[in-house]
Structure formats: structure tokens, C-alpha cells
Symmetry: D2
Subunit: 380 residues, 4 copies
């Protein structure tokens, strides 16, 4: 058993999901490497200490620069707001640390390119936490596509719909709300939600080449919790775009935080010549599958309850019929990363490079929202 | 084209569905026989006249005995309350008329036996309107079973749940409410609703041999609209029973008019060694089908939208994806009856004899509700 | 009772649905006017005669010009391919006939404008058969919006997905296939399917002001059944567009005939400040409704089985829980038209003028598919 | 923070779920007591040692009698086969240990009564792991009933359907299969699956007074893995029963391991005068709720995605829209038990006494399966 000493930066919502993943992975996955929860870092000492105590982090730091300098840290995990990813990742890589980074990779493609360059130049293991790839039903979708069950792909559509910012009384920015602050987040739903849809899409269906987008900020001004003042809202509340994939298929993507009735409804559907697939996060354990090659009279969408032991990841958990949840995607993610460190394993995906592709697409989408033109995706 | 002159007795809810079926069948089905809406009979002249005018019945009668004596009537269709089925059917048969009778066949097995005897002795075409057999999805279920897709059957379960009699203010009996009057209806949910479930069950899964039942009348007294007085309620508001089929499978059946939230939720499910089937009336166009022989990773319940041209009856209607409704089951029923009259065709099912089997089972169920014992089904 | 003499032109799929509607409406709706199936017109005599016999048309014509000249025709109903709508409608109006026209109104806005002008100048009753407005669940959606249950609208999304043209062996044009022939149809999914989505959308959510679209023809050449030659396919197999409504809401629309697993999946969803609505044609009897004002713990999407007697149109049919189907939308449509003829009634919708709005939007969509720019919608 | 030293007996499937619960509870629940994973006990040393290492148990034993004698153990948790529950529980209680016991409580009511007596006589904290009470959606159902949202209850129905024993090649008994061995398990689906349904039912709807049951063993002989011989199967493969609750409502219950297509489909539905509730384990995060008091036109079954922070337990986990899974029910269970130890807290439910009620009902059910009579439930 080899130990991998982890240093976690940030202890918000993602700090919790990652901490839980580190605590859980070794009980369920049989791996050569075992993560050690060495240190967590946050700026407010009493809170980061309490967090460390609760989750079993062996120590804590209040300055991330200290953390990355510690010799007893092998891998740095970044869960801070998006505007700090690049700086921290580069500094950590400079010290020779492996880097795991929350999504989106960076604020923009330029930052992303720098991040990719340094981890690749230094040959450092790296990963970006696009966790939805690791939902068993989503991985099953990937397997079905890789087995060419679908044939030529004609259509891809994905949504990420939420409804938690409809009230004009909600402030922008501040405690637990940095995702609403353009400075910290870089963008609104595009980087936060569509980035997930795009990561899955290019994993399942290959590169996107061109996009045309429409963005909107429904509530133009909100109180900013950090400044205390009513300020212009600079994030996109909603974004929809049309796209074309390199394989000739067409796509529509949409995300919003103003879709009353949807809490976190990430859905996608893929239509191929021979079969189609659809999935949604609210019922994450199910995959819908239609196969035209089924006998005509009994052809129909199959609702696959992805809990059998021959379904992806499910041999690690309970018995058929019994669900796992959201947090397990992070456990699967870190399991994959640890596995990739074993001798002879392939590198982990999604890597920084993979996530950079998503960054290029987000960038083209945001650009198109302003230019009102079709935009080519860079880096394809 | 041969004409079949129809005389309809009764012009309530079922009088409407049958009239509609007679009006519609020839436009959609290519048959040797065409029904002619010769006469309708009801006791209240102005109302039966208005009904005849509305639906295109060529004449009307106010005494059913007159109707069955008319030489220009080939077939008598009975839609009056249950307590009149036997008398009318026997009299019509005596005159040599074909007889179509609403379900349940009769008030009890004795009446049913007499009815079967006379139509069979006289060789008269006959049918009972258990219309749910003719839902395309239900017929598809029958076809799948006949093709032995399911293998050995282990379980059958069926419900018929309604919620329209929960209010204690609802009267029993009277205009439009004879189903709540034990004298007219014979029983409550057992004859009205479970009879449907039983008819489908024995059609799909063969004879039922023994039953044990529980019946309940939740509201013990209601105003009777005919007498104007508050009287004891003699119908069963709810009935559930366990049963065994001759083929070794087990069954549970339940019906009630006190299931808040269900308007007319007739559902059934059959579990076989290799495959299972389920259906419900609220979404009547769909059949759910699970086939264990599907590839393991993509096995799931298929939701079959039974609207393709190779699905039962659907080549007569529109195009794939477009639904038909409740009333079409009656059109399919009369189409089947007319077809059975063509030379060399097999007799129509469900016949009086088929419906008598259901009568025996209902009888055993009601008897068991009182005896609180398992009861053998007669006539098996 | 007043008679309205109908002359139907065309006896294909829509000829059937309209004939059925004329045959059925008077039995279920109590109206001052009763349609009389006076004459049907088609070019092939033996076939139009057989059609007339089957449906009860009193006479037939083989030249539509003759039909519109007949004094015994009050209203002309056009179900021929799209490229003949304008000529026939104008000629009929010229003779002072009321005009009912299948959708889309015309091949282009110019034709549509001429058609609107003449029926309005002459004060002739008119209607376009956008039948999905008359699905009870869709009308219920309209009522909920008119009652302001949703509050400010943020999002509209609609799809019309089919899968019947995926095979490259399917010919374009010819018997039953004029929808695949650009000359006859004008466009592909845009005019055939998206036109439905657009009509519903502007009825529910008001004018659309700008669009940006993407169109695709997946199979570039097909055999043309009329010429017998392999020819370039000129229709759009798929079309998706982004749009903005005048009320500030955002929309995405998509249609294709290459969505494996979907037969005729017309769906829409509307997200408002207080409530959301969704519907799909495969389960047309249900409306999904989410109301944020429900008590927090029990808030959820409600699946409304739109079959109660206080639901739109449903008092005309059966009892709660029992479904109607696709064909009923046409019966409701003609009932509405007949009602509009009664003294003091409001004009029928969708009128030619309403349908012209849809035509403008389709035109902007097709134009944007070529220009790859956002296009303003004319006539708003 | 107070420590509670746990000794776990058994390390099979339930040993895993409990170990996980002990490892997780303190990170998510803020409680006075923290469980300490002191010792685990199993008969095969290398395996129990590996189990202890994997899950973080501080020590292990190979003889349960040793474990219960250890002074450093406060609470004994029993996850061994059913036929050992009574002996171990009594011995542990004799030593003054708190006892947590897997369900069903015992092999029969006599054993159960002894177990209740000793823990109550000695005033020891106790609990039985009927974990499905702790599904957030099920707890929400309980809350709705306690708030009297449903009004008078008319009907209860529950199923627990599986399909994993259909193959005749499956052995009875042995490694991982003691549930199929009547000697170890006591009964088949009745104790294993229906016990869950019954526990929930009496929690939600009060005492059951009488039952009539039907049991079946479809495959009469199977190879026994312990003896190596083909032997008579003594467990019930399927069991269905009718029941009456003390509150006047009627019930049907069914369980089987021969329902092709269902992995672990535990479902229940309750119909009350004003509202109804339904739930199923395959989609455990959702509760269906119908409220008749909703406005008529928009009344429908609500699909509640039970993931909001004001839903039971969900404030401990992630954010709205994100699912938890099966294993979390055990975490909630132990959290409840630990909470009950805090000063002034009410005792934990389900207690041994609660579970004894379920035992009485199972006993009456099994007795009725043999007697073929209605049986009174003891102890009510």
C-alpha cells in the first residue's frame, strides 16, 4: 500500500465533497494508493480548524502558499473560487506537486493554457473534477457509445436547469455565493453549469467546432454582499447555444438558474442512427436507452436502473436495486486518479488538457453571446 | 356489403359509447358487415328521442319488448343496469336475435348460466363488452403471452382504483348512479370494476381456481335517491382478494372507489420467468415490458408507445406517435364482432361463456368476503 | 339548427382527420351550426369516390375550381399540399366562401399576406388547423397562463422530434410523401413541425422578435418518386433555433426527423417566476405543473390527468380517468369554428392572421439558417 | 463530545452498511455522542481481520462471547443471521450492553418477547435496524401523516418485489446465501422483505389486527451449499396477504423473489380521505403526493424530489437536487440512536418493542399461509 498525501485548498461545498471522497475511497476500492488527508487550507483559522477536525485532516494551514511548500504534500487539490485556480495550480506545479483542480479549469483559455503547459512540461499527474462523468449511468452511456451501439450520431441536447436565483432579494457574492460574483466566478451559468454539460458532451461525442449563443441577465442589479452596495450583475443568469460537432451532429445546450421547478436538472440526450440515450441528474441512477434493433412490436425506451454488479462502479457498492448518490461521483473520481498512478495505468481523464477544451468552448459561447455571431471554437 | 340491424337498449353512459362505436366502425375497418343503427330503446320518450336524433338512430322504442319483437332488428345490444341483463337477453335470444351485452353478464352465475344456455342452444352470435381487451396495448400483451415471451408465469396483480364516492353526501342509486344501488348493480366494485380485471386476467393467464377476499363498505348509510331516505349501503366500496391460477401462478386483485388520486386506474402486471408486462389505463397507449433476455447492461423496463402500424388495431387509425382513446375500445369490440360474422370466422370473444367464468369468480369473491374462507371457483 | 355546407379539398391524411371531425362534432357539441359533408374534391376519381363513400360525403369533384364554384358550398376546407394553399384559398375567398386551411398557411409570408388580405377584406370566417391548441392539456396550459399562474415568463422550450426518415432508402416526394418534397412542402421540419411549436408558443407566450437558426439536411440525395431519379434533397431534415420573445423570455426550439426513439414527440415547457408547465404529445392527456407557492415540503411537479369534467373540452366526452386521442383535436377545432359563427361570438383562432405570424417566424428561421445571423421577425 | 464504543458482530452485507454508517455519521451530524469503532467479531480470523483493517475497526474477535464481555464495549450491534439474534442479544443485555439488532428481530415472537423483556428490564438503549424508515422521503411521509394531511385512511398497499432467485440453479444456504436457508433465516420473503413493509406500515398507519395470507415455494428443491445435497426448500419464495388495520383501513401486502424486472422494488401507497402518498425504493429520493384540496383544474400527483434543506435529513447532506442513496439510511439510523442517548431525548424507534409488533404480524402471516384462515395478530 502506497500513501498519497493530499493537501486540500478550500473548505466550502466542494471541500466537503472532496474530503468525503478521500475518507471513503479506500474502503470501497482496492487500490495500490491510499490517500492520506494530510492538510487542509483556508483563510479563517477557527473555521478551517473545525473543518479539519470534522473530516479528519491531520493538519491545517491558513495560507495556501505554505501548504504547497510542505514536503509532506504529494498532491494539491484546489476547491477555491475560479479566479484563484490558475495561480494556485501553477505554484503547486512549480513545486512539483500533482494537481487536482475543481472545474472549471480557469477563468479563460489563456489561464488554462498556462496550467496545461506547466503540468505537462513537468509531467505531473493532474485531473479536473468534472464529476458527472463518474455517475454510473453516465459511464454506462460512454461505454455504449464506445461499443458503437448508437451508430452515426445526429443530435445531442443538454440542459442544466436550476431555479435558486429567481428572487431579486438574493445578493451577489459573499459567503457561499461567490458563484454569483463575476469577479470570482468568471461567468455565471456558462462556467458553472454549461461547463459540466460540455465536458460530458465532448467526452461522449467528440469536439465541438462552432457555436452561436444567447445569454441573459434577468435581474440587472443586486446587492453585493462584499461591498454592501447595489451593483450591476455581471454574470449570465441564462445561456443557450446551438453547436455543431466535428462528427456532423447538431447540438443545443441550455442552462439557467430561472427554471422554476428544477433544482439541479442536468439532462442530456443523444440520438444515433441505431439507438438513443438519455439521462438526468435528478434520477441519476437511471439511464434511458432506445434500441431500434429491438423487435418492432416491443421496441421502447428502456429505463435501466444502473445498480447491477456489471454496471460501472456498482460492484463496489451494495446490491442490485440499491441506489448511490451524488457524493459517490467524487469517490469514483479520486479512485480513478489513484488508479492512474499505479504502474502502467493510463493517465487520468478529465485532465487539465481535457478541461481546456471545455474552456475553449465556454469562451466561444460567451464571445458569441456578445458578438451575436457564430464563433469558431479555438484549439480544435 | 351486408347490413346488420342493431337495436340498442339503454341510452346512458354505455349507450353513448356503443352508439359512437356503431357510427365509427365502418369508416375505419374494412368489413363485410356494416351496422345499421336501426332503433334505440329507453323508457322516457322525450329523452330517448333526443338521444336517437343526436346519434342517428333511425327510430326509437320505449318498451324493450317491442324492440326485440321487431323483424328489422338482427342484433340486440343491452346497456341497461345489471339486474335487467338476464331477462332481456333471454327474451331477445328467444326471438332469435344475436345478443351483445354490457358487462357484467348478469347478477349471479345462475342467471349467467341461463343466458349462456339459450344463446348456445340457439346458435346465436353473442358477445359481452369487456372492452379493455381491445385496448391496443392490452391486445399486444395478449400477443406477447401467446408467443410465449414470458415463459412460466409466477405472478399476476391487478388494481382498479377510483376515488369518486368518498364524499358521504353522494347518494346511492337514482339518475346516473345505479352502480351504487345494490339492487340494480348486484354488487359494488366487484361486479363493476374487478370484473374487468378478472376478464383480462383469465384471458391472459387462464382459469382462476381459488380465492380469498376482503370486502368493505366504508360509508354504511347514504341517502337513496329513488326512495329519498337514508338507507343502509349494500354494495362493496372496496374489495381485495388473493387468488391462485390453474397454471400455478399467484395473484392479488384490488378495487376500491376510495383511492384518493386515482380516477380510473386500472392496472395489471404479469411476472414471468423470462419477461414481465405491465399496463395502466390512465396511460393506456403504453405497455411496459421487461425482457430478461436483453443484454445485461442495457436491460430495463421498456415503455412501448403502442402506436405503430404493426401494433394491434393501430393500422386503422393515424400515424405512429398519435394516440387513440377510451372510446376506441368499443369500436374495436364491435369490429371484432362484425368480423366474427363473416363466413369462416371464429366466434367472438369475450362471449357469454367467457363472461360466465368471470361471473363465477366474482361470485366466489363475494362469497369469500362473507365466509372469510378460501372459496373454490365453480365451473373451472 | 343551421346547416353549414362543407367542401373539402384533398383526401390524404388530413382529409381523413377533417372528415372524421365533421362526422363527430355534432354528437358531442351542442352548437347552433351543424356541418354538412357536402362535397369532397380530389384528382383521381375512383379514389375520391371511394373516400366520399367511406366518410359520407354527399358528392365529389375532381377539380377544385368546380367545387369552389358550387352554390351549395358555404365553407371550403383545404388539406392539399402547402404549395396549393394560397391559390385555392384566394379563389375560394373570391367566391365568398369561408376558408379553413391546413397548416402551414402558405409557402411564404408573401402568399400568407395575400391570403389574410382577401379573407379580411371580404369579412370571411377563416381558420388554420393548428390542431394542437385544442388538446385539452394544452388549452389548460393556456388558461393557467391567462390566469397569471406563472408570473413573469423566463423560458420557453419546445421540441418536435421524429425518427421516420433516417433510412437513406426512403424516397422524397410522391404518394404520401409530399412532405419530403421541397417543391410541394416549401420546407422540411420547419414548416411541418416547428410551425406547430411556434403556433403554440406565440399563443401561450406572445410574439417572437428575433431568431438565430441552424438547419441541416443529413441525407443529401434521395430518389425522387415522381421523377424516378436520385436528386438533391432540398428540405431541412433538422432545424434548431434560439429566440427572444417580446416579453423578454428566451426560447430554444428544435425539430428533426432523425431523433431515434421519438415518433411524434412534440413537447414544450414554460418556466415562469411562480410556476412552470410542461407537456408532451406522446402522453397528451397529461399536463405537468409546478407551483412554487405550494407548501415547501410537498412542492413537486404535478402530473395532471386532464380528464375531469371541469377540464377544457372534457365535459363533452366520457368520465374522469378516460382518455381521448389525437383525432379529437380536430373535432374541438371545428367545434370552435362553428361556435364562432354563432351570433355575437368572437372570431375563431388561430385565424389566417394568427397563422401569418407563424409564417413570419418560420421565414426568419429559414433565412437565419442560410445567413447564419440573428434575424428580426417581420410583422411584429 | 462523548464516545460510544461499538462492538459489531457479523461482517457480511449488513456488517458493511453498519461500518460505513459508524464511519460517516459524525462528519454529517452534530451529536453529543460519537461512535468509536472498537471491535468487530467474525468466526474466520483472516477475513474478520481484513474487514477490520478495511473499515477501521480498532480490534477484532472471533468469538462473539468474548466481544460482549469486553469492558471497552458500550453497545453491541448484531448483523448475524436471524437464528442467532436472540441468543446474542440476550447475552449482551445480560452484560449490560446497549443492543442494536438487524431486522427481523428474531425467529419468532417467543424469542422476540424474551429480547424485549431483557432490554426493558435492564433499561438498556436498544434499536432494530428497519432502515427504510430513515429514507428522507419515507420520513416525510410520516411527517405528512402526523400533520394529518391525509385525513381518515382507507387503504394501504405495499410490495417488495425482487427477481434474483428465479434460476433453479441457485443453491440454498451457504456463503452469502443464508437468507435462502430456512434454518438460518426462519422464513423467506416474509421475514426478509415483508418485515420491512410491515415495519413501515405500522409506523405510518398503526396496528394491524387480522391477516389472511398465501405463501408459495415455486422451486421445491435446491442444492444446499452447506450439505452439498439437493434438499427440500423450506422458505417462502412468495407471500401475499390481506390485512385490516385497527384504524379501519384495508391493506394488501405482497413480496416475492420471482418478479422478473424488479431488483428491490419496495413500494407503498396510502390512500386517505384528503390526500394520498406513494413511494418506491428504486427512486427513493422521490415521494408522490396527491392532495385533493388542491385547486381542481391543477390537481395531480406531485413528484416531490426530497432533496431540499427543509426535507428530513437533507440539511446534513448536499444541496437541493442532489441525491443520496441507500447507505444513508443506516447513517440516519445510527444518528437517531446516538441522539436518543443525549440527555432528555426520547427513546429510539424502532425499538425492540416496535420490532416485536412486526414479528407478531409476520407470525400471523406465516400461520395463515398454513391454516388458510384469517388469523388474529397477537400482542395488539
Amino acid at each position: 500500500m502506497k500513501k498519497l498525501n493530499i493537501g486540500l485548498i478550500g473548505y466550502g461545498f466542494m471541500g466537503r465533497t472532496h474530503s468525503n471522497a478521500y475518507r471513503q475511497v479506500s474502503q470501497f476500492f482496492d487500490l495500490e494508493y491510499q490517500p492520506v488527508m494530510k492538510a487542509v487550507c483556508g483563510r479563517t483559522e477557527d473555521r478551517v480548524k473545525a473543518f479539519a477536525d470534522n473530516w479528519g485532516w491531520q493538519s491545517y494551514e491558513t495560507d495556501w502558499r505554505k501548504l504547497i511548500e510542505r514536503d509532506d504534500i504529494d498532491a494539491v487539490d484546489i476547491t477555491t473560487p475560479n479566479n484563484s485556480h490558475c495561480e494556485i495550480a501553477k505554484a503547486a506545479a512549480e513545486k512539483g506537486k500533482m494537481v487536482l483542480c475543481e472545474k472549471p479549469l480557469a477563468l479563460n483559455p489563456e489561464q488554462g493554457e498556462e496550467m496545461v503547459k506547466i503540468v505537462e512540461d513537468k509531467g505531473l499527474a493532474n485531473m479536473v473534477w468534472y464529476n458527472y462523468r463518474f455517475v454510473p449511468a453516465v459511464t454506462l452511456a460512454k461505454n455504449l457509445i464506445d461499443d458503437d451501439k448508437l451508430g452515426k450520431i445526429f443530435h445531442y441536447r443538454a440542459n442544466f436547469l436550476q431555479d435558486w436565483t429567481i428572487s431579486p432579494d438574493l445578493p451577489q457574492g459573499g459567503e457561499g455565493l461567490w458563484r454569483l460574483d463575476a469577479e470570482a466566478a468568471g461567468s455565471g451559468v456558462t462556467g458553472d453549469l454549461l461547463a459540466h454539460c460540455i465536458d460530458t458532451a465532448i467526452w461522449l461525442n467528440g469536439p465541438i467546432t462552432t457555436v452561436t449563443a444567447m445569454t441573459e441577465t434577468f435581474i440587472k442589479e443586486r446587492k453585493h454582499n462584499l461591498t454592501g452596495e447595489v451593483q450591476k450583475v455581471n454574470i449570465d443568469d441564462a445561456c443557450a447555444f446551438l453547436a455543431r460537432f466535428a462528427n456532423g451532429s447538431l447540438a443545443i445546450f441550455e442552462s439557467t438558474r430561472y427554471a422554476r421547478g428544477h433544482k439541479a436538472l442536468y439532462t442530456f440526450e443523444i440520438n444515433g442512427e441505431n439507438a438513443s440515450i438519455s439521462w438526468d441528474l435528478h434520477d441519476l441512477q437511471r439511464l434511458s436507452y432506445f434500441d431500434y434493433r429491438d423487435e418492432s412490436a416491443t421496441r421502447g425506451w428502456r429505463s435501466i436502473h444502473v445498480t447491477d454488479s456489471d454496471h460501472p462502479y456498482m460492484d463496489k457498492w451494495w446490491v442490485p436495486g440499491l441506489n448511490i448518490g451524488y457524493e459517490h461521483t467524487f469517490i469514483h473520481g479520486i479512485a480513478g486518479f489513484l488508479k492512474s498512478l499505479e504502474e502502467g495505468q493510463k493517465p487520468m481523464h478529465p485532465s487539465f488538457r481535457d478541461a481546456l477544451q471545455t474552456q475553449y468552448i465556454c469562451d466561444a459561447v460567451l464571445k458569441s453571446g456578445v458578438s451575436k455571431q457564430w464563433e469558431e471554437v479555438s484549439g480544435v
